[in-house]
């Protein structure tokens, strides 16, 4: 009988434990997730800030529970104060709630204490009410930031493990890597260039007439001023460039049509004239004065004759070149032609 009663009581106690058990809160530790530590510099022996992030599956709202962050040996946080540490958490970014840190936990503040060799251990103690500004909820993202003040990286390169633990339910570790030199030298070379182009290498006046001026174009000439061809030039050289023209005036055997000369002169039908003028658009290039006026010029006495220039770097300048030919009633008949060469060089 006595043995039966003992068995029955044992059976009841055993069964009750399954009923009582679920109502007794018991700690279930979980692994922290999304752990990271972002440094301002990964260079050894250098002051660096740390931004430690993790997600706590369990959270904590128990007074006195601690979150302990431990740096490995050789990191130096000597003289670091809790004023250089921030602790935030929240459901979305981790920055929603900023907790107050104090030397010891209170109803409104987390305790924060550096300890250990070179202050490598930071112990955060939950507020007396377990909440502080806001409860560290399950699945909250946590951000614990150290400024770079009194925060020196280890003196050797390699991998180091930061552990996160304490009496709060979750734990984890972060591996970070330090390097001897975290700077990458970048260099690039931009060479000086000069670009030069002409649009056409054959132009014609057609048949010249002492009664009216003729202007060259790419077909059979024109009775009114037209663009014969273009020149384009561009450079990134700080000295700029010069374009010159070289070549004799219109010639047929031993006969020539007089070049206008160095002075910009209006067209005069019935007088021998050969000349050119130019306009410039774009870039920083400009036409030399004698060739930029409304009249024409051709400085055959001083060849090669500079026609355009840029004193420094210049995006593409397009020069529109026009040619004039006039003859007199006594100009010798013949097939007049010439070859003009435009030369572009940088300035020295």
């Amino acid at each position: 009988m006595k043995k039966t009663i003992i068995n029955i009581l044992t059976l009841i106690s055993f069964s009750a434990s399954f009923w009582v058990g679920p109502f007794v809160p018991f700690a279930s530790a979980a692994a922290l997730t999304a752990l990271s530590d972002t440094l301002s510099t990964a260079k050894i022996s250098t002051l660096s800030s740390h931004t430690i992030k993790f997600t706590t599956p369990t959270g904590t709202s128990t007074a006195g529970q601690t979150i302990v962050i431990t740096f490995p040996s050789d990191f130096d946080f000597t003289s670091k104060t809790i004023g250089t540490v921030t602790f935030t958490h929240g459901a979305t970014t981790g920055a929603e709630t900023t907790e107050t840190l104090a030397a010891s936990a209170s109803a409104t503040a987390w305790g924060a204490v550096f300890s250990g060799t070179a202050n490598r251990v930071l112990t955060l103690t939950a507020p007396i009410d377990g909440v502080g500004t806001a409860a560290l909820a399950a699945s909250d993202k946590v951000i614990i930031s150290y400024t770079s003040a009194n925060s020196t990286n280890a003196t050797s390169a390699g991998s180091f493990v930061i552990t996160i633990g304490g009496t709060f339910p979750d734990s984890g570790s972060i591996t970070l890597t330090l390097v001897t030199n975290d700077q990458v030298a970048v260099s690039a070379t931009v060479n000086q260039t000069l670009s030069f182009a002409i649009s056409s290498n054959s132009i014609s006046f057609g048949t010249l007439d002492s009664a009216a001026a003729r202007y060259a174009n790419t077909s059979t000439g024109s009775a009114s001023e037209v663009e014969a061809h273009t020149l384009t030039a561009a450079t990134n050289s700080s000295s700029g460039y010069t374009i010159s023209v070289n070549g004799v005036t219109l010639t047929a055997g031993g006969f020539t049509i007089l070049a206008i000369g160095a002075t910009n002169t209006a067209s005069s039908a019935g007088s021998e004239q050969f000349g050119l003028r130019m306009t410039a658009t774009g870039g920083s290039g400009s036409v030399v004065t004698k060739y930029s006026g409304s009249g024409f010029a051709y400085d055959s006495a001083a060849l090669p004759s500079a026609v355009a220039t840029s004193s420094g770097t210049s995006a593409t300048t397009t020069y529109s070149v026009r040619y004039l030919a006039n003859i007199s009633p006594t100009t010798e008949p013949g097939s007049y032609s010439t070859t003009l060469t435009y030369v572009a060089t940088g300035n020295f």
Partner: protein
């Protein structure tokens, strides 16, 4: 891209070399055919000297001198949009004069044959070669003049253009280096520090070169019109007596210094300020007078 008869890019624009007499130096340049068709280029060489005081080269066909010391391919064909690196050498004769020698390597096409009434247009691009041959090189340079453009002494504001002429009486090229510092007579720190040779130009032996230095305004464009001057003078306020000091370093630790004094009187801005102050004074004095009249009339009524 419009069709071009000739489109070529060369790099670098100038090559600066040094050599001992009797020795050969090597260098290279790039040619880039910017056309969508093949381009055959022919090389030619000419010496150059200074043309005026502008830094523009004046080419002289050379049967002697550096133009004849350069060796480069006579002909190169570039495919459409092809870039080619072309090596060249310079061999200075054993009896080459010490100092500077200057020439250009030209690349051009052969213009088409001309017919009656036609003008055949050719093009060439040149790469400048500046060679220094070692030996006893005579150095000599001088500042021939430093002033604002047109030697003006009175200005309303910036931008303000300066120019100086630098003479090289030595036997090698000189690259003036230095700065132009502008001080207001009331302040210890400079109102502006400007590079004296921003374009890194050279002065060839036996020549004079004029350099321009600009003290710019914030907008980098000269103001046009009264109100544009007022705005520019407000944004870049300068007033008073100024002293510009030009310091040029050249050669082996040599230096020349010159100064120029001028005045800046931002009269357009001052005129507006005077008008505004006068108006303010008139308004305030009238206001005080009206107030006094009101006080007196009130006092009379009270009595």
């Amino acid at each position: 891209m419009p069709i071009k008869a000739f489109a070529l890019t060369v790099s670098p624009v100038k090559v600066e070399l040094s050599s001992d007499p009797g020795k050969t130096v090597s260098s290279q340049f790039d040619l880039f055919n910017e056309q969508k068709n093949d381009l055959t280029l022919y090389s030619s060489f000419e010496n150059f000297e200074a043309q005026g005081e502008t830094g523009r080269p004046n080419f002289v066909p050379g049967k002697e001198g550096l133009a004849t010391w350069i060796s480069a391919p006579a002909k190169i064909t570039l495919k459409a949009l092809e870039k080619k690196t072309v090596p060249f050498t310079v061999t200075a004769p054993k009896n080459a004069d010490p100092g500077g020698h200057f020439a250009a390597i030209f690349w051009g096409t052969t213009p088409p044959q001309t017919e009656g009434g036609q003008v055949s247009v050719g093009a060439k691009v040149g790469i400048l070669v500046l060679l220094k041959v070692s030996g006893q090189v005579k150095e000599g340079a001088d500042l021939l003049g430093f002033s604002t453009q047109n030697s003006q002494r009175f200005f309303a504001g910036v931008p303000l253009a300066f120019s100086y002429r630098f003479q090289n009486s030595g036997t090698d090229r000189v690259k003036p280096d230095g700065e132009l510092k502008i001080y207001n007579s009331f302040w210890f720190w400079p109102a502006a520090v400007l590079p004296a040779n921003d374009g890194q130009g050279n002065v060839l032996p036996g020549s004079i070169r004029k350099f321009d230095v600009l003290w710019p305004n914030k907008s980098n464009t000269p103001p046009v019109g009264f109100w544009a001057h007022v705005s520019s003078q407000w944004q870049d306020f300068h007033a008073g007596a100024y002293k510009a000091t030009l310091t040029i370093n050249y050669g082996d630790s040599k230096k020349v210094v010159d100064t120029y004094r001028f005045l800046i009187i931002p009269w357009q801005l001052l005129l507006i300020l005077i008008i505004l102050i006068t108006l303010l004074f008139l308004i305030l004095s009238r206001g005080v007078k009206k107030y006094n009249e009101w006080i007196i009339s009130k006092a009379r009524m009270a009595n």
